[in-house]
């Protein structure tokens, strides 16, 4: 089966998801609720890619979307990058203390969070639930309630007999990993390792290479920045 991945025609296998194909060919799609050892869930939408052509293109979650003959996939189009940045911004506002989210924000060049921070301790990615059920075979935790009240807990909110306190749910939780406790540990956005967003994006509406972080353009930009500073 043949698909077009970022303008290149590539061979893919029946049954692959777009994410599988992108991984196989080295296109780096950020993911959050996806884990190789667990069934895909499609909760975070961070893995969005653009499929189709021109005005009829649409955004889909690549961790769930199967490849189809002739599919035209763009993993880093302007629209995709914009959508991803918005998602990460919202997630950071929800859990500013998460290292994984802060790292994502930095690697995407997010420089401010326009939403009110909530200091929640869960982004409802469902990783812990799938980990507990599929790998630990305990089925001790799950989603309860719905809407804004949706949360993760044990039955009746008490210690579960099924739980073996293996800690796997905490191990995999992106919100449980606390960010580096540096001097700016209580800001909403860390930006400690801020990367500049790919400069090729503005020019070509697509990222031109898939280095992560994109080093070359970064260096060039930083050079410029220092020059500007010197002048001031």
């Amino acid at each position: 089966m043949e698909i077009t991945l970022n303008g290149v025609k590539v061979q893919v296998e029946e049954g692959w998801t777009i994410l599988d194909a992108a991984k196989f060919y080295g296109a780096n799609i950020p993911t959050l609720c996806y884990h190789e050892g667990l069934s895909p869930y499609g909760a975070c939408r961070l893995c969005v890619v653009e499929i189709g052509r021109g005005g009829r293109s649409k955004l889909v979650a690549s961790c769930l979307h199967p490849v189809r003959e002739g599919l035209n996939v763009r993993t880093h189009s302007e629209r995709v990058v914009k959508a991803r940045k918005m998602l990460v911004e919202l997630l950071v506002a929800r859990c500013p203390q998460s290292k994984i989210l802060q790292d994502l924000a930095s690697s995407m060049g997010i420089e401010k969070v326009r939403f009110k921070p909530k200091y929640d301790d869960c982004i409802l990615c469902g990783l812990c639930v799938r980990m507990c059920e599929e790998q630990m075979d305990a089925k001790a935790i799950g989603f309860v309630s719905r809407g804004v009240k949706r949360r993760i807990t044990t039955p009746f909110d008490i210690k579960s007999e099924k739980c073996r306190t293996c800690g796997a749910c905490m191990y995999i939780c992106p919100a449980c990993q606390l960010r580096c406790q540096g001097p700016k540990a209580d800001t909403v956005l860390c930006s400690g390792c801020l990367n500049i967003s790919p400069s090729c994006l503005e020019k070509y509406e697509d990222t031109m290479c898939y280095m992560d972080p994109c080093v070359a353009c970064l260096k060039e930009k930083e050079g410029n920045k220092k020059d500007v500073k010197k002048k001031n």
């Binding site: 089925k139 001790a140 935790i141 799950g142 989603f143 309860v144 044990t154 009746f156």
Partner: protein
């Protein structure tokens, strides 16, 4: 029977499960029947259903908390709905609600100690002209005031309020 708290009433629960052929796909029907019998979903009953149907308890708990029709806390004999819709609100529904809360010594979504009343709020009962409205067991009481609501509650209370 409402309020009838039989933690070891397994034969009855087993009978309900049996009625649906002990099949997982009838979980919601089974929960509805249990709720109809006890007025809420007792913890022991859910644990029993999990065992019998071989479903993880957490899954049943997820379903039970997803639907508003299910209650995990015992419900009182009478359910009070205080309308807090816009029309009732501007006519002083908050004051009426406050009065009920004080008189029954409970908060919204709670049940009195004697299991007689459960207090709920709604966002419009569709009879705004009569607001503020208090509905008890499906019966509507319009133009409520803090004074009037007291006598309405009295009608339903077990031991007449002093």
């Amino acid at each position: 029977m409402h309020g009838e708290l039989l933690s070891k009433d397994f034969p009855a629960i087993d009978a309900i499960i049996k009625k649906y052929g002990e099949r997982k796909e009838f979980l919601i029907c089974i929960l509805q029947d249990i709720q109809a019998r006890y007025g809420y979903l007792p913890k022991e009953a859910l644990t029993r259903v999990a065992e019998k149907l071989d479903i993880p308890l957490i899954q049943i708990y997820s379903v039970a908390t997803f639907f508003k029709a299910f209650s995990l806390r015992p419900k009182g004999g009478h359910t009070i709905h205080v309308c807090l819709g816009t029309a009732c609100h501007v006519r002083g529904a908050e004051r009426v609600l406050g009065k009920i809360k004080r008189d029954l010594d409970i908060n919204v979504d709670e049940t009195t100690k004697d299991m007689n009343f459960t207090l709920k709020t709604v966002n419009c009962l569709g009879a705004c002209a009569l607001g503020p409205i208090v509905e008890i067991d499906g019966k509507h009481y319009g133009n409520m005031t803090t004074v009037k609501v007291e006598s309405v509650l009295k009608k339903y209370s077990i031991k007449k309020m002093e």
